[in-house]
């Protein structure tokens, strides 16, 4: 019994707060699932005051996604992954780019970035239990980079005496995926060991004649290897100790003789102590090192050109007031070290301190209000920031829940943005700016969720006002050096992002269901202090996007079950204003039209007995091929067949 208490420590906290609050809900909508990201305390999805989008383990299985990029673009509208310069992957999430969306793994930040985005390839789905997504500013709880939202990836916990799963999937362009997951679970200890390998070859794509703007002609495949181990100890009632270590390496070959290597090593130690029925304390230490290197095959030298190392220590105390609410107080210290050969001086480091508090008031079974305040301090240039957040939830009846929130977000200028200084391929010199001010945003969010019987409908509207956006400005020359162009980091003028999202989810019975989500995003282009439109290196969000899923499940006999899933996504066209000539910006700006597209994937999962699952899928069943592979074109060169197998050896 002890171990159950230990594993469900979080659940007991929620039960303490809610007491006997029970509702009969359809489990199909996952409303009984616990989520933690919105308030840093466990809440049932149906009750959480902060609107949370949950991607469950069932959703992950149905999407058959390899990494977080695959999963998010399959499941969420308003999400687009495109290429930045040098064909690095860039995220646009409801008008916010990757640097304003905070990615967490089990609540911890990730080190390293490329063109302002984390390495999405390192976030594989092999060991993921669920993903929680909070839209809108969440800096009051999570600090810098949470201006557009938070995506928290929660890894698996062992719950059975032992499990062993091996899986594989093959597809076009020598795409290979292999995974092994082994877990054990005992009274006082459990362990999860996960290994995954993914690989796909480089391949070329063909563009039509006379493209309007930059296109790509080669899709660079990569090979990733990922291993992680998580140990959980529950030596006595109410105390849990978790240790985790992971290693990741990705190899990519743009040039045959100099493959690029991306490595990450992370380690975490955390202790959760239920001191009393009302008081919980969590202490954690997290280490994350993300490196980039070039391997010179001819001389067999592996030369590191980038290393970001983050060490953080955090303490969080939760105190529950019976039937009244929860008080949360936390402190955090983070040491940020950056080595980058493009950096002035090559290395920079800074210390970041923060303290945050949150009061979760459960005013009545219908009303709940959460207020949070956070103070952040950054030792480099001695900058500090205060961010508040206020959320209100109201349940009109058993079926309708209304949520409203105001939150402030911010993004502190990074060491890169302050101290970059390098010649970019002879085109211009990229210059950092130590005087940058933090980017701030004010977010208003309102949502309504209605659930009854077979139906679940959610509608959300939001408005973001962003100030001092951090970006590179217009290329310009300097006095005395008129031929050399400089691209300098600066704070842009204010701009707004607003939009809406609606999700319609229905399950007619346990065998047949559908979910359709639509997002509208309006992103205005930021301007510099002179009022000139700054031609961002990133493409703006598409205004209309839609994702849909239809799934059908049928059990033919005791030993065979068939699941058929159809995923689709639609992205509307978008127009962007870009320089007519990158070498001579005096030629002005022209409007580039990026066309709409739709992609569909049909997959079948054949469950044979309890242990074996065969998967056959056709990705891009309409055989869509972009006429021009612009930087935001979908990365596909037509339909592809995927075949996979997964075996639960413990169930054989």
């Amino acid at each position: 019994m002890k171990h159950r208490i230990c594993l469900l420590l979080a659940l007991t906290l929620a039960q303490t707060v809610w007491g006997q609050h029970e509702e009969k809900l359809d489990t199909a909508f996952n409303l009984h699932e616990l989520v933690v990201t919105g308030t840093r305390t466990p809440k049932l999805l149906k009750d959480t005051p902060v609107q949370t989008r949950l991607i469950s383990s069932d959703d992950i299985h149905k999407a058959d996604a390899t990494n977080v990029q695959d999963l998010l673009q399959t499941e969420l509208p308003g999400v687009e992954f495109s290429y930045a310069m040098d064909q690095q992957t860039h995220l646009n999430f409801a008008g916010f780019s990757g640097q304003s969306i905070l990615f967490l793994v089990d609540g911890e930040r990730l080190a390293g970035e490329t063109m302002d985005d984390v390495d999405f390839q390192r976030l594989t789905m092999n060991n993921v239990e669920r993903i929680e997504i909070i839209r809108g500013a969440s800096s009051a709880l999570y600090g810098s980079n949470a201006g557009g939202g938070v995506i928290n990836i929660i890894t698996k916990e062992a719950s059975r005496p032992w499990t062993l799963n091996v899986n594989s999937r093959l597809s076009r362009h020598n795409s290979q995926r292999y995974g092994v997951s082994f877990s054990t679970h005992g009274q006082h200890a459990s362990n999860n060991l996960d290994f995954s390998y993914n690989g796909i070859d480089n391949y070329n794509v063909n563009n039509g004649p006379n493209p309007q703007t930059r296109v790509f002609s080669t899709v660079y495949g990569d090979k990733t290897f990922h291993i992680t181990d998580k140990v959980t100890l529950c030596p006595w009632d109410g105390f849990r100790l978790t240790g985790q270590a992971g290693y990741f390496i990705r190899t990519l070959s743009r040039t045959t003789d100099i493959p690029e290597r991306y490595r990450d090593f992370n380690g975490r130690l955390s202790a959760l102590w239920k001191m009393t029925e009302k008081d919980h304390v969590e202490l954690s230490y997290n280490f994350d090192e993300y490196d980039k290197s070039d391997y010179y095959k001819l001389t067999r030298h592996d030369i590191c050109n980038y290393s970001n190392v983050e060490n953080s220590v955090r303490g969080v105390w939760n105190h529950s007031f019976v039937n009244t609410g929860i008080l949360t107080i936390g402190v955090e210290y983070l040491h940020d070290y950056l080595f980058n050969t493009n950096l002035d001086g090559h290395t920079r480091e800074q210390d970041c301190f923060d303290i945050f508090t949150q009061m979760d008031w459960i005013i009545s079974p219908r009303w709940e209000m959460v207020s949070a305040l956070r103070y952040d301090y950054f030792s480099d240039v001695y900058h500090s920031q205060i961010t508040p957040k206020l959320t209100v939830r109201y349940k009109t009846n058993d079926h309708l829940t209304l949520r409203m929130s105001y939150g402030m977000g911010f993004r502190a200028p990074t060491l890169k943005e302050k101290y970059y200084n390098f010649d970019m391929a002879g085109i211009w010199i990229v210059e950092g700016n130590a005087q940058l001010r933090p980017e701030t945003s004010h977010n208003l969010n309102a949502s309504a969720e209605w659930t009854k019987g077979r139906y679940n409908i959610t509608a959300t509207v939001y408005h973001n006002s962003v100030a001092n956006k951090l970006s590179t400005g217009l290329p310009h020359s300097k006095t005395g050096n008129s031929e050399q162009l400089f691209l300098e980091y600066l704070n842009l003028d204010n701009f707004t992002v607003y939009g809406a999202e609606a999700t319609f989810h229905v399950r007619w019975d346990k065998h047949f269901g559908t979910r359709m989500s639509y997002a509208y995003t309006k992103e205005s282009i930021a301007k510099d202090e002179s009022g000139l439109t700054v031609n961002s290196q990133y493409l703006p969000a598409r205004q209309h996007t839609l994702t849909t899923r239809i799934d059908w499940q049928h059990q033919l006999n005791k030993r065979y079950e068939l699941n058929v899933t159809l995923h689709g996504r639609f992205h509307s066209s978008v127009d962007n204003r870009e320089y007519a000539d990158y070498y001579d910006i005096s030629k002005g700006i022209r409007c580039i039209h990026y066309p709409a597209y739709t992609l569909w994937k049909l997959s079948t999962a054949h469950h044979i007995g309890k242990a074996i699952t065969l998967t056959l899928a056709i990705d891009n069943i309409l055989n869509y091929r972009p006429k021009y592979y612009y930087l935001n074109a979908p990365i596909t060169d037509g339909a592809s067949l995927q075949a996979g197998i997964a075996i639960d050896l413990d169930r054989l």
């Binding site: 070329n204 563009n207 004649p209 045959t256 280490f287 001819l298 480091e349």
Partner: protein, 275 residues
């Protein structure tokens, strides 16, 4: 365990943990990586006769040339390197750039100039191109004496010829002079779209190319392909035989084309001359 012993252990553990934390601030992977190499220095070895232990005229070694500039040719004079009297100056002069002319109107021999093409770099590749513009210029300047010249992935000979062997180790070359003379050498060929000399409009897919003769066989030691983008370089590490215009022979091998800091077209050439 005695209290003192336990104290020592705890102190050791604490010190170890502190050391790891201190190390952790700047990363734990440092030991995995190599330090960037220094730029290779020229190597010149005077060959000896193994029987009599007397010095031979033949020299061998390594030459390093940063030929990454789009705008310059670099010249190598093997005869001067082999001569002890002129060797030092010859090695020094290898790094001297000879700019590709962008002005002048000297049409004495050929249609010297810059030919600008639109290359389909984002579509079907650089085998698809359209002529856009020609600007006449002076002929390419060169020193009085030279054996070969390099410009990025292009190589010229001084009215010589080149034969590609299948050997990948220059020391395995054992052909006698008569055998060398009988080899089918390829001479330089006039080209208007191979020597990429002007990258100022590259993002618009426009490349200015020098009209000049190059040796197609020796230039194959480093091939450039598009797609993919950025371009892919293919290195051919075969040993090449160069026949000079005075009838002497040299063995050449490109052993590396990337500088220690990752710049391509920085050539490390192994040579042996005369054969």
């Amino acid at each position: 365990m005695p209290v003192n012993g336990m104290g020592r252990h705890l102190t050791g553990i604490l010190l170890g943990a502190t050391a790891i934390l201190f190390e952790a601030c700047t990363g734990l992977f440092g030991g995995l990586y190599d330090e960037p190499e220094e730029t290779p220095k020229p190597v010149i070895i005077t060959e000896k006769d193994t029987k009599s232990d007397t010095l031979l005229h033949t020299v061998s070694g390594l030459l390093y040339i940063d030929a990454s500039s789009w705008k310059d040719w670099y010249y190598i004079d093997l005869q001067a390197i082999a001569n002890p009297q002129t060797r030092e100056q010859a090695v020094t002069q290898i790094g001297q750039p000879y700019p590709i002319p962008t002005t002048g109107d000297d049409k004495a021999d050929r249609d010297y100039g810059i030919y600008t093409y639109w290359f389909d770099v984002w579509g079907k590749g650089i085998n698809v191109y359209e002529f856009r513009q020609f600007k006449a210029t002076s002929a390419q300047p060169s020193p009085d004496s030279w054996s070969l010249a390099v410009h990025r992935n292009n190589v010229r000979t001084n009215d010589g010829g080149v034969y590609e062997t299948q050997l990948t180790n220059i020391d395995q070359l054992s052909m006698q002079k008569e055998e060398l003379k009988a080899l089918p050498f390829t001479t330089d060929e006039w080209t208007k779209n191979a020597v990429w000399a002007d990258d100022s409009q590259m993002l618009n897919s426009l490349i200015g190319c020098q009209g000049i003769s190059i040796n197609p066989v020796l230039s194959s030691w480093l091939r450039l392909d598009i797609p993919p983008m950025p371009p892919a370089f293919t290195h051919n590490n075969h040993v090449f035989i160069l026949r000079n215009n005075d009838g002497t022979f040299a063995a050449l091998q490109l052993t590396n084309y990337i500088s220690p800091s990752g710049i391509k077209c920085c050539l490390t050439i192994q040579y042996k001359y005369p054969l």
